[in-house]
Symmetry: D2
Subunit: 133 residues, 4 copies
């Protein structure tokens, strides 16, 4: 899978009194990137994926390393690289870039669950295929 | 109904780069106050109200007047006064107090809906009774 | 001033357990619209407006009427109409549209302040001019 | 340092359409815990720490492992254990407990900076002392 990339603009609401983007908001941006990726690979959006197909994608681990502050109203680029780990879960790696500088990087790990919160194994083919490409 | 009151402490996350609490967060505090009130009147919490009784309480209007800035780490008192309007909807009035000063006041209006998003009319007795007291 | 308009996509993080966008988030969208307008009228962004020119734009009142639920991943259009009220403050009126339907409308009122939190009066010409056009 | 502990109640606003607490909000709770700890150790609150002493505490890494979903309106206990790492930065370890179950655990790493965003080294004595106790 080639890198997938989205661009967003820092919102004023995302800053805190230190004058920079509040750290928890990076995880919101990561989710904007991965739900966009889902939409991209299945030609359907993640909202429908949840309701129609009954697939949930809960996070089991989230991590972010902060290298350089991001400020309002920076434009932010998020590069996402998905991979399948141990055939069991999906990992997304993120690079968060502003002012042409790598300002943060992180990852999230996810399992797939059905509406009864039971893991879906093996992973659906349309996902493993998309990651390989 | 006598005034109902809760106290909370400003979270760092609730500030913005102006150095004060971001304006949309007042509406989150209002909800903390009214869900606490619901828990108080029915001896059950609003979460259960939703899932067990199938009652939703969507907002149809929200308003806040901002008089004086609130800062981290102020302690904030929220006074809530509920009323029934035209037998159709519930109005909550809020006074938001910090450093012994009325810093903001607002209201929210709500209808009651069932899980199919259809209005519940007339309003359930345990609610109209609680408001009168 | 002709209507000014922005488009954004509902974020998963903006939903709540009722399955719809949480009501306080509409006020964040309103701010995205009005800061974009500021950037548009002064060819500088609101972030710079704050730090360079020392102008703050605190909210004195905010209001939203909710007509129809907005869901993830709806695309949302926000139409903004600014006006000067009583030569003292700026009002922005918002129409929030999803699925070609007016789902909510609201307003915010703002005064202009300097870094010492003192009101700037009269309003700067570049603002009154922009509103008139 | 013995464990430090806070308790908070899940807010409706913190849920998402999956019906559980949105993952980024755990990081907000972590901050509520560590700013409370700061207030506890220095008898002054973190807000004042920032403005009076000119000390900032930016995050350089944040991590959370999610084991079991937390729902509205759970009561949540957050246990915090601070430590000094390599004499350079502070690490906080968090255990997030609901319904008497360890639902998540995580850490954040922080450096100390002055108002010019330059690292403060060595770490101030009142902090290293507090961590040792």
């Amino acid at each position: 899978m080639k890198d997938f990339e989205i661009t967003l603009k820092v919102r004023y609401a995302e800053t805190d009194q230190m004058g920079i983007v509040y750290y928890a908001n990076y995880f919101i941006w990561m989710e904007v990137a991965r739900t966009s990726w889902f939409q991209h690979i299945c030609n359907k959006d993640y909202g429908r994926l949840e309701t129609e197909d009954g697939i949930l994608l809960p996070v089991i681990e989230a991590n972010c390393k902060y290298k350089s502050a991001i400020r309002y109203p920076d434009e932010v680029k998020i590069k996402l690289t998905p991979s399948i780990q141990k055939r069991l879960y999906i990992e997304f790696d993120y690079q968060i870039i502003a002012r042409e500088k790598l300002c943060a990087q992180g990852f999230t790990k996810h399992i797939l669950m059905d509406r009864q919160f039971k893991p879906i194994r093996p992973l659906p083919k349309f996902i493993t295929e998309a990651v390989k490409q």
